[in-house]
């Protein structure tokens, strides 16, 4: 009994408070979003708001249960949980039901369960477990490979379910790894790759290669400080490219100039690679290989975009980057969402007075686009309050993670913070046109049992770990 009292006393009640406020606001927002005069009671169980109350009650029970379980339990069974959810992901591919193009649901009686929601916290557990292994060193190939395996398994399985949004969430663990010592340059390279990706789609592979080549030449100049050599390289490259493109069009090969440019890139790079190798300029060799790698990446992005992505995915990406503006087509959802939020003004239209959400102009208004209801009915004051509450929660979670004595708890804590952050960034971002429309819920807000429960589990395991931070957990 004394020990249990101890647990309740050492729980972080501030986090629980924010959690309860967010859940409550979410419930009210769902009520407003799907409100209908015939079922005006918020407790009407035939409506989504009634059902959400059941999910909330169950979530609280789950939270309570998680608190009273011994914290060692999570550490000990971390891999087991991970394994179970991976098996569930495989099972759902085989036995799952298809909802909106994604095979990610188990239909159990009247309840639909989405394993991808739960894989988030088990991946966080597994990663925490691995990173807290005795004598763990980040910068070893074995570590990279193991971490890669832990993260890629769910990503691949979720991708196979056609649930791109949930798969992308796993990428946020890079931020956790960064905290644990992953080289900043990897994050930087990731950023460069992302930029090249965007350039390729927004401009064209041709422009991207030209930009990359100019950047590489500048880099060469700064590293070598020999203008003549830089000019030579530039000369070789451009004369080759010119000759190829001119020759190509002269003999009517039908090969596009961008492809000739690629050949020019490869040949001039090879020439320069031989030179660099002979002169033992290994740094330049590294730059060169990154340059070639990015050039190929450009081509593969272009290829994947044009040949592998499905039209609806293409148009969503196009819409995001403003390549196609079609407010009545693909952009319809985002446009209506922006209208809903924008029309809220400073103070909002008032509770239950939102027309955009209530009259179904905004799609998925109780799940992915729940933030619209906040924006429309409570205005700028409401939206900033909600974002501020999330920010407070995230900063609190960093603070809590940092005060852990065990690596396991810290890694897990960062996992929780980063997952919530990613959902917040993408979900709110998409409602205001800053992020692509990938259907992931707003934590604690969006309607749905799977989502609410998985975030509750995610958070409360950490709260339990934090409550017993004084204990020695492992190794």
């Amino acid at each position: 009994m004394a020990r249990r009292n101890n647990i309740w006393a050492s729980l972080d009640w501030m986090t629980i408070g924010i959690y309860l406020i967010l859940v409550l606001l979410g419930w009210i927002s769902i009520y407003a979003a799907v409100y209908n005069d015939e079922h005006s009671s918020i407790l009407d169980m035939s409506q989504r708001y009634g059902k959400q109350l059941i999910w909330i009650t169950a979530a609280l029970v789950i939270g309570f249960t998680l608190i009273i379980i011994d914290s060692k339990f999570y550490v000990f069974f971390a891999y087991a949980f991970y394994g179970i959810t991976i098996l569930l992901l495989i099972a759902v591919l085989i036995f799952g039901t298809k909802v909106k193009g994604a095979t990610s649901w188990f239909q159990l009686g009247g309840v639909a369960i989405q394993p991808a929601e739960f894989v988030k916290f088990t991946t966080a557990l597994a990663l925490a477990k691995y990173l807290s292994t005795y004598n763990f060193k980040m910068h070893k190939l074995k570590s990279y490979l193991t971490i890669g395996l832990i993260l890629l398994m769910p990503v691949v399985l979720i991708f196979l379910q056609n649930d791109t949004g949930s798969a992308l969430v796993i990428s946020v663990f890079l931020l956790v790894l960064f905290r644990e010592g992953l080289s900043g340059s990897i994050l930087f390279i990731g950023l460069v790759i992302a930029l090249v990706f965007i350039f390729t789609l927004v401009l064209s592979p041709l422009h991207t290669i030209i930009i990359l080549s100019i950047a590489a030449l500048f880099l060469h100049y700064f590293m070598r400080q020999k203008p003549i050599e830089t000019l030579k390289v530039a000369g070789i490259f451009s004369s080759l490219a010119a000759a190829f493109i001119f020759g190509g069009s002269l003999f009517k090969t039908g090969i596009p100039s961008v492809q000739w440019l690629l050949y020019a890139t490869i040949i001039s790079s090879l020439i320069f690679a031989v030179f660099a190798f002979r002169q033992h300029l290994y740094n330049l060799l590294l730059v060169l290989s990154i340059y070639i790698g990015l050039t190929f990446f450009t081509f593969s992005v272009d290829y994947v975009f044009n040949n592998i992505l499905e039209p609806h995915q293409q148009s969503r990406i196009n819409e995001l980057f403003g390549i196609e503006s079609d407010p009545l087509g693909v952009g319809y959802n985002v446009n209506q969402s922006k209208i809903a939020i924008g029309s809220g003004g400073l103070t909002g239209k008032g509770f239950l007075n939102g027309t955009q959400t209530k009259f179904d102009f905004v799609p998925e208004q109780s799940t992915d686009f729940i933030f619209c209801t906040v924006g429309e009915e409570w205005g700028f004051i409401g939206t900033t309050l909600v974002v501020a509450l999330f920010l407070l929660l995230l900063l609190r979670l960093i603070y809590l993670a940092e005060r852990q004595r065990s690596t396991f708890s810290r890694v897990y804590g960062y996992g929780v913070a980063c997952i919530i952050f990613f959902h917040l960034a993408i979900n709110v971002g998409m409602t205001i046109g800053l992020a692509p429309v990938i259907g992931i819920p707003l934590p604690f807000f969006s309607y749905g049992g799977s989502s609410l429960w998985s975030f509750t589990i995610l958070l409360f395991i950490f709260l339990r770990l934090d409550a017993s931070r004084a204990e020695k957990l492992s190794h």
Partner: protein
């Protein structure tokens, strides 16, 4: 042990940065930019316009000239359409399947959520059948509009017609939207604002599927439709019909005015047309037909055709000369009959002759002498002419009379400058332009102005702007009498008596009496013959009656009618008789029949 602890700041900074980006974006979306509020309103508000019935038009005795009948437009909301039996549908509507498909495509292109008209003005029969079976065709519904109906089928030129408003009008006047009806000509145009009433607007909230979700602001922004006001015109429907009857198969015009009030009793441009041809779906094709008719039935001769007035104009030369005191009641001029120079006289009468009898005989020499005496009164011919012209201007000539019909022509009395230019300044005198004396030459006067001249003489020196509407009323509003301006001419009342005596003599003592004299009523009139270089001369007649306290003044033009006394005068006398006596004396029935049956349409022979 933990070398990377400082990275917490970077991660925290990323979190804060993203939140800050959101704050800025939300601030711009919600506080700075106001467009989204309008977009949201546009999304959710549907204006449902209620159209009031257009005002009715009555004649002066309360007989209905124009009323409304219901018309049914078929609309479609493409989104709500599901598979239906197109064959049955097309059968009910009596249209081709291609027509239906084209209409549906057009509606879809406009909007999938908003209704658009697919078929205008269904026949009542199609509507009756369709109404019962409409439930089988989801997405389609019928909207009731009104069309004009003309029980008397007369006075098309006065009433005008109603049609869909054009784009430039929509831009100019925000009251109108695409598909609204507007008066295009005639009184429909002149009294558009009174007749149309006020559209009502009901703001409904709709959801994304365009389903009604209740009233916006509990109907506080809604407005009720206000019924159009009714017009009581000055026309006498029976008289109008009678004039049309007499003018059958003739070109020309009849304008009858009540002198004391300026109220137009009958207004006819012949050949006329049935106003109900220019209603509804058939209007386009019917209009084309009428417009291409060589007899020009749409052309409003009474106000658009300016002819020389012929001898009727002599009355004014007499009046002006009396006013200018260049002749008096005793003044006589000699006439050598056919030998007279420079203008011969076609009538056989005693010579010399004074003004009263000169009017009766329509003596050309008397009137060119009279005209010359006016012009010569002043030191220079152009001064004399200017004075003469000013008198005519005061009688409403060479200007629009300002009636409600908008396309009235002003006619023309040439200005001094015209002759100065033509003959050279100082190189012309009253004799140079002597055709002015007998109403030929450059003079252009519309039949409407001529009728107004008759009214002016009947009034002994003034006229009220001739007009077509007595009052405007509606169920909510008391009748509002309209007032029109009284114009006093520069001719003093006492000079009219001798002219009127002369006009009475025209009817009672000249050859005109055979067909135009009435037993019980004194008509005062003057015939005219308008020289027509293209065919038979035109027959003109102006008159008023009775002599004392005149009730009706009239001008009649019969193109190719040869002499005034042959057609115009008998027709005018019949109309006067009909108006004042309500019936035609038995002895004159044969005249009535002959006038009605005369067909002058083929006497037009292009030379």
């Amino acid at each position: 042990m933990d070398n990377y602890s400082k990275r917490k700041y970077l991660i925290g900074a990323i979190f804060i940065l993203v939140a800050l980006v959101f704050f800025v974006r939300l601030f711009r979306l919600q506080v700075v930019n106001n467009d989204y509020k309008q977009y949201a309103t546009r999304n959710v508000l549907r204006r449902v316009v209620t159209y009031p019935a257009r005002g009715l038009i009555y004649d002066r005795n309360g007989d209905l000239l124009v009323y409304n009948k219901a018309s049914y437009d078929l609309l479609v909301t493409p989104r709500e359409v599901s598979a239906f039996d197109t064959t049955a549908f097309c059968e009910i509507l009596e249209i081709q399947k291609e027509e239906l498909i084209a209409g549906l495509d057009k509606a879809k292109n406009y909007s999938r959520y908003k209704p658009s008209v697919i078929i205008k003005q269904l026949s009542p029969e199609s509507y009756a059948v369709l109404q019962e079976k409409l439930f089988r065709f989801p997405g389609f519904f019928v909207q009731t509009r009104t069309l004009r109906e003309y029980p008397e089928k007369t006075a098309g030129h006065v009433l005008g017609y109603v049609g869909e408003v054009n784009r430039s009008k929509i831009q100019e006047d925000p009251y109108y939207t695409q598909g609204d009806y507007i008066g295009i000509t005639g009184l429909e145009k002149a009294y558009e604002e009174e007749l149309r009433g006020q559209k009502g607007v009901n703001f409904q909230l709709v959801d994304v599927h365009n389903r009604p979700k209740g009233n916006y602001r509990d109907g506080k922004s809604d407005t009720l439709a206000v019924l159009g006001k009714n017009l009581v015109t000055t026309l006498d429907a029976d008289l109008q019909a009678y004039a049309e009857y007499l003018m059958d198969n003739k070109k020309g015009s009849v304008v009858a005015i009540e002198p004391a009030t300026g109220e137009v009793l009958a207004f006819l441009s012949a050949p006329t047309y049935d106003p109900s041809l220019l209603v509804g779906r058939a209007r386009g094709t019917n209009y084309q037909k009428l417009a291409q008719d060589t007899l020009k039935p749409i052309f409003n001769r009474a106000i658009r055709a300016a002819y020389p007035p012929g001898s009727t104009f002599k009355l004014f030369n007499a009046l002006i000369a009396l006013q200018e005191n260049t002749i008096n009641l005793q003044t006589q001029f000699s006439c050598n009959g056919p030998l007279s120079r420079p203008i011969r006289c076609t009538h056989n009468h005693i010579s010399p002759i004074s003004v009263r009898n000169a009017i009766r005989e329509s003596c050309n020499p008397f009137f060119w002498n009279t005209f010359n005496s006016i012009v010569r009164k002043y030191p220079r011919a152009d001064e004399g002419y200017k004075v003469w012209r000013e008198h005519l201007i005061s009688c409403g000539l060479s200007q629009r009379l300002g009636t409600e019909l908008s396309n009235e022509l002003p006619g023309n009395i040439p200005e001094v400058g015209y002759y100065n230019h033509y003959y050279g300044e100082g190189h012309w005198n009253g004799l140079t332009i002597r055709s002015m004396a007998i109403g030929q030459g450059e003079l252009l006067i519309t039949p409407f102005q001529l009728a107004n001249m008759a009214a002016t003489i009947a009034n002994r020196g003034y006229y009220i702007t001739p007009h077509f509407v007595k009052s405007v009323w509606s169920i909510e509003n008391e009748p509002k009498e309209l007032n029109f301006e009284r114009h006093v001419t520069t001719i003093d009342p006492e000079h009219f008596e001798v002219v009127i005596e002369g006009m009475q003599a025209v009817i009672e003592e000249s050859n005109t009496r055979y067909y135009s004299k009435l037993d019980s009523i004194i008509i005062c009139g003057k015939t005219g013959t308008v020289q027509n270089p293209h065919g038979s001369d035109h027959s003109v007649f102006i008159a008023f009656a009775p002599k004392e306290n005149p009730q009706i003044a009239i001008s009649v033009y019969v193109e190719n009618g040869v002499w005034g006394a042959r057609y115009a005068a008998p027709i005018a006398s019949l109309i006067i008789e009909k108006y004042l006596n309500d019936s035609i004396a038995p002895r004159r029935i044969s005249i009535e029949t002959r006038m009605h049956e005369a067909n002058l349409l083929n006497s037009f022979q292009p030379k």
